[in-house]
């Protein structure tokens, strides 16, 4: 699998796929996409990178342990649900606000952070499984 062409090409492909997965994640609320799909795309990106350049390269590039990423995602999703506690509405009620970034109005909402949490869980869990499987037993 580790041909020169694949090894040279894989980092670019991975970056593009991760970028695309973020795009899919963020547009999910209105267009086809969302956390689950985005997470799966990113996970396959890392799987490809792992097959091409080795597991340790992927681990270095993610920096955190993938399971920690998944744990953070679960926490983020839970917290964005718990935020409703402070507004006296039921758990996981969507809360919306609008902030202005350089004069452009941007909608922020708890479902968005929830979806980011879903994304991180999927990426983290699947990547850690894939990496563990890709790892040579001597690694």
């Amino acid at each position: 699998m580790r041909t020169v062409i694949f090894r040279t090409f894989a980092p670019y492909l991975t970056s593009l796929m991760v970028l695309y997965s973020l795009f899919v994640l963020l547009r999910g609320h209105n267009e086809p996409g969302g956390g689950f799909i985005g997470g799966l795309i990113a996970a396959s990106a890392f799987a490809i990178y792992g097959i091409a350049c080795g597991v340790s390269a992927v681990r270095r590039s993610i920096y955190f342990h993938p399971m920690a990423v998944a744990g953070f995602g679960l926490l983020l999703a839970a917290l964005s649900g718990l935020l409703s506690l402070f507004f006296n509405v039921p758990l996981l009620t969507g809360l919306w606000t609008q902030v202005s970034v350089f004069g452009v109005p941007v909608d922020l909402s708890t479902p968005m952070f929830f979806d980011i949490g879903v994304y991180l869980v999927v990426v983290g869990a699947i990547t850690s499984i894939a990496l563990a499987l890709e790892e040579r037993e001597s690694d």
Binding site: P32, G33, I37, L40, S44, A70, G94, P111, F114
Partner: protein, 782 residues
């Protein structure tokens, strides 16, 4: 003002937990002196609760709380009457002394901060238990005391005996807690009331209910395990593995009295029935005798005290269930007296251990010169335990005999048990308090000298309080005994007894008890040997029984696991898919609910092509000679399905299917290389036939089910709802995503938790494989 007091009480209930959080940090900075600061928390709570004395002694019931889950009538509510207030004051008052004592006892221990944390948590749980009004709050605090007790008994977790004792205590009291929960739910169902303070009016309804016996037995299950009644008494002496402050606090003064508290609390509503007045004295009396006889056997100071605690709890249960007003007064007085003298004696035992290096009563003697203050505290406490005037224990004993004097054979039997038990407890009290201090000096492992202020402050304070309470009994009864007895009896009760002895039956019985006690005390060594012989002859006890039961349970679980979880993937798969096929097909055939024959579909040419690709994929799986080919062919079929989704207008589903298929192929291929499976599988023809049948039946079942569903009239209400609302309420145009992250957010939260846990489990499975295993023949793992 009222709401102000309400919020302060709420603060008081949570304060120990807050303090528990900060205790480790404080201890890191201040070392053992953190005890002085931490003791302020129970002291503050003590003062807060003492502020209610005035109104409660006038017969008022102070209730308060917050609604918690109003739909289910669950509140976070509390009630302060004579019973709970006295308990709360004991818990917080002794708690403050214990924190100080622990400061001295564990001085320099590297986990002292953790210890403070646990003991404060326990205190919070215990005070919550006694002031809870709502059933569920009561249950939660009840279980919290079991858990904190587990942590404290197992504090010294590097020793196997501690761990065993901790688990044993948790199992016994935890099971009791479940029984209590069931009992409370039964009572809730019978009376429709979920607050203890409202229960009083429903006593008759409860007693006449056909489920009274069930409720009674379940409540007893909770009370008897917690208060170490025979035959559940065995965990308490084992719990002496805990550091001494824990034994003094949890396992004599407070937690083990929770069962008695519960019985006292239920007495006005469940008492006065024949079962109540038979079962309680019977088990209480048995516990009293068993406890005292086993106490005689021991030479370890703490174990001697532990068995007398068991005995005292038996006495309390016996008195609570005896069913006359005097007996209740006696129970109340004895409970207060016991908390004080037993707490003090335990701390004395710990002090002796700490300063001399041993707790074995036969290896101690002549410490009075070296430890005069300890001797003073021990002697006062023993006098109270022995029931001598002018101590509080004397009042309690007089009242016991006043309650039991004269009457029928049953009363006489109870009386005889009480006298024998009291005499034996007298013996143990003095054996603990006198033997180590009197007589010739014996060389101890450490050179004994008086302990520091932190260590003797607690026992001296408790012993002196017992003296003062008896001397000023008029005020004490007005403030504590009478309101508490009234709460237990369910009607106004006035306690009058004072230290001035007046001639009469109770006094003669007291004298007889003391005489008997002195007699046995002189023969203590002989009695100990005799008991040891008897116990060796019996050979079996509930403690061993517990081990056997646990071992049996483990063996049973092991057997069940071996049968149901054989660990062979092919068996799991066969069972799962056979079950799926049966569940789908059998009802369909039995009830004749199969789908009608569908019309031949009219589809555009390209859809036919996609379906053809899917079929080809399947065919390739079937004829593939090589696993990798099969995996990839399965992927082709999956992609074809994704395309079908796309054509039918479900882009989200289609994307997900694409990604899942890709990842499945990658991961399956990786698993294959990882497990070093041989390239082709070697199933025999018979096996192949069976697998094929199951596969065909399963597929057929699913196909028929889907056909049937599409033939039913389509209920569009959900579709309409989401179409109408996803833009308006959830501000999203992608309905699928809006459902996932917003409308059904809780489901998704659960799902991603599952994804995460699955990931962890798979990771663990991959990791536990031994490295460099030689390639094995295929076990059909895929």
């Amino acid at each position: 003002m009222a709401s102000n007091a309400q919020s302060i009480t709420l603060l008081v209930l949570f304060l120990p937990f807050v303090a528990a959080f900060f205790a480790p940090f404080l201890t890191r900075v201040l070392k053992h002196n953190a005890a002085w600061l931490l003791a302020l928390v129970p002291a503050f709570n003590f003062i807060h609760f003492a502020g209610f004395l005035d109104s409660v002694s006038q017969g008022e019931k102070v209730t308060g709380g917050y609604r918690w889950v109003p739909d289910f009538n669950v509140n976070f509510s509390w009630m302060l009457d004579g019973l709970s207030l006295t308990f709360a004051l004991l818990v917080t008052g002794i708690g403050a002394l214990i924190v100080l004592y622990a400061g001295g006892y564990l001085k320099g221990h590297e986990q002292q901060g953790r210890f403070f944390s646990f003991i404060l948590m326990f205190m919070g749980a215990m005070q919550g238990l006694v002031v809870s009004d709502n059933f569920l709050t009561l249950f939660i605090f009840w279980e919290l005391t079991s858990i904190t007790s587990f942590l404290l008994i197992g504090f010294d977790h590097s020793r196997e005996a501690s761990r065993r004792a901790a688990v044993q205590a948790l199992v016994v009291t935890g099971l009791g807690g479940l029984s209590l929960l069931a009992g409370l739910l039964v009572i809730w169902n019978i009376t429709g009331v979920s607050e203890l303070s409202l229960l009083l009016a429903s006593g008759d309804a409860l007693r006449e209910s056909p489920f009274y016996l069930a409720a009674f037995l379940l409540i007893l299950g909770g009370a008897f395990t917690k208060s170490a009644q025979f035959p559940f008494h065995f965990w308490l002496p084992n719990a002496m593995e805990a550091p001494t402050p824990v034994s003094a606090y949890l396992h004599s003064a407070t937690m083990v009295k929770a069962g008695v508290y519960l019985l006292m609390r239920m007495n006005p509503v469940m008492g006065e029935t024949v079962v109540w007045e038979t079962v309680l004295p019977l088990f209480g009396g048995t516990t009293l005798m068993v406890g005292t006889l086993l106490a005689i056997r021991q030479t370890d100071l703490k174990l001697m005290l532990a068995y007398t605690t068991v005995a005292s709890l038996g006495l309390l249960v016996m008195l609570t269930g005896f069913g006359n007003e005097k007996a209740i007064e006696a129970a109340v007085l004895y409970l207060i007296a016991h908390s004080m003298f037993k707490g003090a004696l335990f701390m004395v035992a710990g002090l002796i251990d700490h300063e001399s290096g041993t707790r074995d009563v036969t290896k101690l003697g002549g410490l009075r010169k070296a430890m005069p203050v300890t001797f003073f505290a021990a002697f006062l406490a023993a006098l109270s335990m022995g029931g001598l005037p002018p101590f509080f224990g004397f009042l309690a004993k007089e009242e016991i005999y006043a309650a039991l004097a004269g009457g029928d054979a049953w009363t006489l039997l109870v009386l005889a048990v009480a006298i024998a038990g009291n005499a034996l407890m007298f013996v143990i009290g003095f054996a603990v308090a006198l033997k180590p201090f009197l007589g010739p000096e014996i060389e101890t492992p450490k050179h004994a000298h008086e302990g520091p202020l932190l260590l003797w402050l607690g026992p001296v304070t408790l012993a002196v309080t017992a003296l003062l309470a008896a001397l000023f009994s008029g005020w004490f009864h007005h403030a504590f005994s009478s309101p508490m007895a009234s709460a237990v009896a369910g009607q106004g009760v006035d306690v009058h007894i004072s230290v001035v002895p007046h001639l009469g039956m109770p006094l003669y019985l007291s004298l007889a008890t003391i005489a008997l006690g002195i007699l046995i005390y002189r023969q203590l060594d002989g009695a100990r040997d005799a008991m040891a012989r008897v116990l060796t002859a019996i050979g079996w006890g509930p403690d061993k029984g517990f081990d056997q039961a646990i071992r049996g349970l483990v063996r049973f679980a092991h057997g069940v696991t071996r049968i149901t979880q054989g660990g062979r993937m092919d068996v799991y798969m066969t069972v799962t898919f056979s079950a799926v096929a049966l569940v789908l097909l059998v009802p369909m055939i039995l009830f004749g609910e199969g789908p009608a024959m569908p019309a031949f579909p009219v589809m555009p040419f390209y859809e036919w092509v996609v379906i053809l690709i899917a079929v080809l994929g399947i065919a390739a799986v079937l004829i593939a000679r090589n696993r990798l080919t099969a995996i990839v062919s399965l992927g082709i079929q999956g992609f074809a399905v994704a395309v079908i989704f796309m054509l039918l207008g479900a882009p989200d589903l289609s994307f997900t299917q694409f990604m899942v298929e890709t990842l499945s192929v990658v991961i399956l291929a990786l698993v294959m290389t990882r497990l070093r499976l041989s390239a082709a599988d070697h199933r025999g023809t018979g096996e192949k036939l069976v697998d094929m049948t199951i596969a065909i039946l399963g597929g057929l079942g699913f196909g028929l089910l889907l056909l049937k569903i599409t033939q039913l009239p389509f209920d569009a209400s959900l579709t309409d709802f989401f179409n109408a609302n996803s833009r308006v309420i959830a501000h999203g145009r992608n309905i699928v995503n809006v459902i996932i992250v917003d409308f059904r957010g809780l489901d998704t939260l659960g799902e991603i938790a599952v994804v995460m846990i699955t990931g962890l489990a798979i990771l663990a499975l991959i990791r536990i494989r031994k490295p460099r295993r030689p390639a094995e023949p295929d076990q059909g793992a895929i």
